[in-house]
Subunit: 342 residues, 4 copies
Amino acid sequence: MTIKVGIIGAGVMGSDHARTIAAAVSGASVSAVADIDAERAQSLAADVGAAAFNDPLALIAASEVDAVLVASHDSTHTELVLACLAAGKPVLCEKPLALDLDDCASILVAEQATGTRLVSVGFSRRFDPANVALKDALIAGQIGRPLLAHAVHRNVSNSPDGDSASTVLNSAIHECDQTPWLFDHPVTEVSWHAPASTSLLPQRQDPQLILLRTADGALTTVEVFVNAVYGYDVRLEVVGETGTLSLGEPALVIRNSDLARSADYPADWRPRYAAAYRAEAQAWVDSVASGKYHPALASAADGYRATAVAHAVIASMDSDGAVTTVKYPHADLLAAVEGAHR
Amino acid sequence: MTIKVGIIGAGVMGSDHARTIAAAVSGASVSAVADIDAERAQSLAADVGAAAFNDPLALIAASEVDAVLVASHDSTHTELVLACLAAGKPVLCEKPLALDLDDCASILVAEQATGTRLVSVGFSRRFDPANVALKDALIAGQIGRPLLAHAVHRNVSNSPDGDSASTVLNSAIHECDQTPWLFDHPVTEVSWHAPASTSLLPQRQDPQLILLRTADGALTTVEVFVNAVYGYDVRLEVVGETGTLSLGEPALVIRNSDLARSADYPADWRPRYAAAYRAEAQAWVDSVASGKYHPALASAADGYRATAVAHAVIASMDSDGAVTTVKYPHADLLAAVEGAHR
Amino acid sequence: MTIKVGIIGAGVMGSDHARTIAAAVSGASVSAVADIDAERAQSLAADVGAAAFNDPLALIAASEVDAVLVASHDSTHTELVLACLAAGKPVLCEKPLALDLDDCASILVAEQATGTRLVSVGFSRRFDPANVALKDALIAGQIGRPLLAHAVHRNVSNSPDGDSASTVLNSAIHECDQTPWLFDHPVTEVSWHAPASTSLLPQRQDPQLILLRTADGALTTVEVFVNAVYGYDVRLEVVGETGTLSLGEPALVIRNSDLARSADYPADWRPRYAAAYRAEAQAWVDSVASGKYHPALASAADGYRATAVAHAVIASMDSDGAVTTVKYPHADLLAAVEGAHR
Amino acid sequence: MTIKVGIIGAGVMGSDHARTIAAAVSGASVSAVADIDAERAQSLAADVGAAAFNDPLALIAASEVDAVLVASHDSTHTELVLACLAAGKPVLCEKPLALDLDDCASILVAEQATGTRLVSVGFSRRFDPANVALKDALIAGQIGRPLLAHAVHRNVSNSPDGDSASTVLNSAIHECDQTPWLFDHPVTEVSWHAPASTSLLPQRQDPQLILLRTADGALTTVEVFVNAVYGYDVRLEVVGETGTLSLGEPALVIRNSDLARSADYPADWRPRYAAAYRAEAQAWVDSVASGKYHPALASAADGYRATAVAHAVIASMDSDGAVTTVKYPHADLLAAVEGAHR
């Protein structure tokens, strides 16, 4: 059985997902591509042998679409995921699930009403082989009880349009999910701190330093620097009672030249996470085909929680870095949905 | 279109290939598995949703098999590849193509007779992302003209059955193909040298040191050590006029514990080359589907040449390390086949 | 001219300094050793060819002592440094200069009264070749304006006697000096944060996370973990507008064995900072001999400021991690002393 | 007691040694400097507070010279070392001890006639902390019996004056000493091999590949590349029955910038071996002062053997890379001298 996937959004991420699913995922094809820019939709559709749509709702409704991947603008996620749920079709939504907690909750309610699990969220780090190996080593007890973690998340450059809050909702959102995934405990309180800010992205505070405390007491420092210039670089070290675990620094090739030994950084996240995107897409397609969801695939509840953490961080940012409790106002709903999925 | 692949050989490599093609390659399924051990065939077939065969020739003939992957004992390669050619079916044969040059030549002749390209050889390093990046950097001129290379190839342990020649034909055969692939020139002369030999594999000289000279004058040192105990470790450095390029040392996770910073080695080649095996299988399936062969896929002629280099190394071994010219006795045939494929 | 050095304190640090000065510093000898434990004093004195003293004040007064190195218990520093100043003898005092700001100030006043510079403080990281190279690269503009730094300071184990404040005054004191030295701006405000605490040193919060803001706006995160078990490990990364600089991870030898590639950590700081201790001692001896102080040698004013930062960190610890302004109550004195020394 | 050292040769190495001994060695001063270029001698002498000499023989005879360091042109070594022996003064001679075996032997005879040990040779790698740690780990049995080693020795650039033999006598001479020092067995046979040669130093074969077999059967590959352009880079890996040991890649600082993570190479050997030169000079001065020679200091016999190995390599170069037995024609003399020194 081949799962026919419809892709909504033919931008950087949508194109990357479409090409991966079309060329490197077993049991899947890309049958439809939608974008508000018709030309962009047609160009990507032609590349991957799919039909082009202008209207994403038409794509969702189309009979040649078994499952939907949403990679359009963040502000469209809620409406499109709800439409997938209304159509009874599985959907993988790029992060964040929604920018607003009530929107996240409306998705949870709608999914609950379908009586089955249909929503996944694109927290792709859960499929990064290095992240997975680090978590496995942690669970295996290689460093004892975890006490502390240091995360670093640096992009080469970023749009001048965003503000400091958008850094949290678009970039640090990964660490808002990764941290509870890694420690298997929710984030309970956060604080936000401002280093000196780069002059190269004057519209925002950049870099930002965020502290996340999980329910096990562990404290995670997160440096998120969206205009770091030098390369795309993501790091993680977990410090336990008897040792530490860090992600290796990926380097396919080491070059000796010009009085230096060097390894190249990618200019963006795609080379760094190519294996993770493929594994995530494969896990999603397999889950759709079998009806049994891969345990690492982020659920709507995971998406809700990451947005909740991000909002707490922004609240701290807006109150001079005060330590801020993370609020999960739809706790009963989360518990009900997760109970049903187990 | 889905390419239905038949796997011959349900041992370590055949199982690995079968699972990769069944679970992680776009446009392919595994439809049949054959092994001389019926139970092993059935077990793997069940895993990947395929039919089990006892007789590999029956598998080759079966209508539900579009293309064949040969991963059975080296000594069976020639017969099975010839059967695929007789059936007009594309075949990916694990290395070495054949242990004997005349056998390699008979395959070339039979393929030539089909009027098309049907044979590929599993020199998977050509699809290793790090090897590919190194070659790309070399071609891009990052280190000037290449002068010298150092290759290291170490296995944890090896069968006491093999002799010193089998090390060359089974292990160093990778470097016999990798070296001309990297420099884009054939190997012209070789010599073989014996370090002190480990007491842990008394049946063979181990490690061995091999020098390979390519037609561009570059000299490659190859250490092949099949019972190196400490881990599976493959390295390559190319030295050019203005710099060097090496494979990065892969490490998903760095562990700090017990007064050391450490990165694990795999116990065998499968984790190290998992991405290469997937990419190779995908490229082969795509080539079969399109009829256009991926340029990195090793051809029967490449397989012939690697075996020719291996025989020259064994000849040097048998003559006290004398510098030995590599003989390609079927040069006209190689030229004819390669002309036809271009 | 040979400077005859008297060593007060024959414990771990005093012995290390004594042996370095006796065996590996040009223009110096160790002429006297004092310790409250007479046997320990005699043993070290015999090792380095010096006279043994019971009374440190007698050592300071002795005619065969040109200059004094104080490596006795922290609580004795003030009295001994003041005695050196009273005797008009140059003194290198191990960190911290004093545990109390008023004591530090009394030293500054006494030194000012001598009309010359006589006091140096053993902030040895200023002489670590890697730290020096990092600072040089920063000053050379290799990463643009510094915005943020991450410091990590981990010991294998620590005495159960200390409390959480002692971690700051004895261990984090290095980062309290290193940070303003690196950025060439004083620390203006700090905050203190508690990760989950190890069960292996129940008397203290361990690890601790400290944020230091310097007058240039840069924010430095300091993890100090005094019972980290796995090894002695100190790290530093400075993040600038266009890149970052980190200390290399020192590794004399890489070992491949037992399915891992590994590099040993030292069990304590002595191997890590052996070159720094030698360079510091040489710089101090040269300064004493020439009367011209090496610019990297920490002065009494530097010692005062580090203690002031440490007290602000402890104040934050005592007030639930509140952001706390660093107070330098003797600012006029600091300015006067530093003006005089220039 | 201060050893007053006279330095012969105020070039790169002589100046480096003079500054190290004057500024960073305990128990030594530089009292005299000689060079055939009077201005150069005076300039260095002024720097280190020494008297300048034109005539090296006058320096050797001078009463203010207790011990002599010879760092003048290779061709002068024999005469100067013999003059030191005639004067009964200890001498540390830069490598090679002499270019000719008979000259080496004449030094051995003259030293023997003094009835004591007076000659040391500047094989500074024996004092490199990483080399020492590697040898210690080897002796401790961390990798079992050594079977094979890979040495790499690359310089940025080299004089067009030299020929291929001079590469061996001036550069590879280090590995001619290091190899038997490491394995504690003499080199018994060698062979020489030519990679493609760089166009940037047309006067010589460059790089060269040398195989050295020691009496324990271990085989060492040596790549010596004197015009490697990219940086000064020396490496060593020893392969044993159960693991390997390599020198760490020194890096004080890691820089992230311009889409790369990089560590600088030095342009020449001085930064790489600064600690080794200091330790060697300290060991020599201590040996002279005590009359007990540090076991790592190379003796005249070690210097003889390294020259003998170099001559065998050149003989192989002159006979198409033939495997060549190393000849030690003054074996009785070597045995007698070494017996006397024990």
